[in-house]
Every structure is written in structure tokens, then in C-alpha cells.
Symmetry: C2
Subunit: 106 residues, 2 copies
């Protein structure tokens, strides 16, 4: 039982880890609006193409996005849009933390 639940937490951590980077969050956010090719995402993120390509492979391996090749371009697509629900809670944490800071400052 214990091993099983440990494995489950590891599986979850793997996915969350895939999201735990500003550039990758930016990518996920953009893909939530429309699919995008690597070129577009690279321009948006502002790093080297190779860096962005690696970020995308992290997201793909985690199952967060999938890719679709069309002609010479590769389009990336958000696989599970519920990922965005994530964000509203993360914002709550940020806000709650900000309030704490405020209290401390009093």
C-alpha cells in the first residue's frame, strides 16, 4: 500500500515538475489560447530555439502537450486544458502570501 502511494506521488511530482519553470508556464499559457509552432513560441519566450525545443520536450514527456507535424513545422497543442485551473489556485497562494507580508509589516 505504502509503495503504491509513493509511486503515485512520484508520478504526480513528475508532471508538476514539468510545469515548474517560468518559460514552460508561459508556453502552456499561450497554448491554452491556440496551438503554436516552435518558431512562434521561441519568439514569445525569447530564448534560443534549442532551449525552447527542450522545454517543449519536457512538457511532451510529461504528457502536458502533444505535437503535430505539418509540413516543415511542428505544432504544439495543450493536451489537458484543466491545467489552467492550476493557475487560479496558484494566484490564491500568491495573494495569501502577499497578505501575510502585509500583516507582518504592521
Amino acid at each position: 500500500m505504502k509503495a503504491k502511494s509513493k509511486a503515485r506521488f512520484e508520478a504526480r511530482a513528475k508532471i508538476i515538475k514539468a510545469m515548474a519553470h517560468p518559460a514552460r508556464l508561459m508556453i502552456v499559457d499561450e497554448l491554452s489560447r491556440r496551438e503554436r509552432c516552435v518558431r512562434d513560441l521561441t519568439e514569445m519566450v525569447g530564448s534560443d530555439v534549442s532551449t525552447v525545443s527542450k522545454h517543449l520536450s519536457v512538457l511532451r514527456n510529461a504528457g502536458v502537450v502533444r505535437d503535430e507535424k505539418r509540413g516543415s513545422k511542428v505544432y504544439y497543442i495543450l493536451r489537458t486544458p484543466c491545467i489552467l485551473n492550476f493557475m487560479s489556485c496558484v494566484e490564491t497562494v500568491i495573494k495569501s502570501k502577499a497578505e501575510e507580508q502585509l500583516d507582518l509589516a504592521k
Copy 2:
């Protein structure tokens, strides 16, 4: 504008990063049921106390949990229970990935 949104993704990533570890997910999960002292959590996680203490400080710095000292013990409390909504989506990603694997195996 761009810098502002970049800062926002960085803030979000910081919180998500704090969750991106199996032991810390286990802790958050446990704290969602009841507050716990370090001793209890250490036993549950099965690492050294010092390791667990550091995990807790990561979660505290991110604003995910808060601590409350009572006598010689320190209790940890989940600050924003919505964190758990996270998990249902993460499970969706896991399931969707499993289905993909299944398709590939055909």
C-alpha cells in the same frame, strides 16, 4: 507589459516548484486532512528529520503552508486548500498519458 507578465510567470513557477517533489506532495496531501507536527510528517515521509524540515521550509517560503509553534512542537498547516484541485487535473494528465501509451501499443 512584457516584463510584468514575465514576473508573474516567475512568481507562479516558484510556487509550483515548491510542490514539485514527491515528499512535498505527500506532506501537502497529509496536511489537507489535518495539521501535523514535524515529527509526524517525518515518520510518514520516511526520510531524515532534517530533510523533512527543509522540505517544510520550501513549502513555507512559497506560501503553501504556515507553521505554528506550540510547546516544543511545531505544527504545519495548509494555507490554501485549493491546492488540492491541482491534483485532480494532474490525475487527468496521467490518465491521458496512459491512454496515449495504450494507443501506441496497438
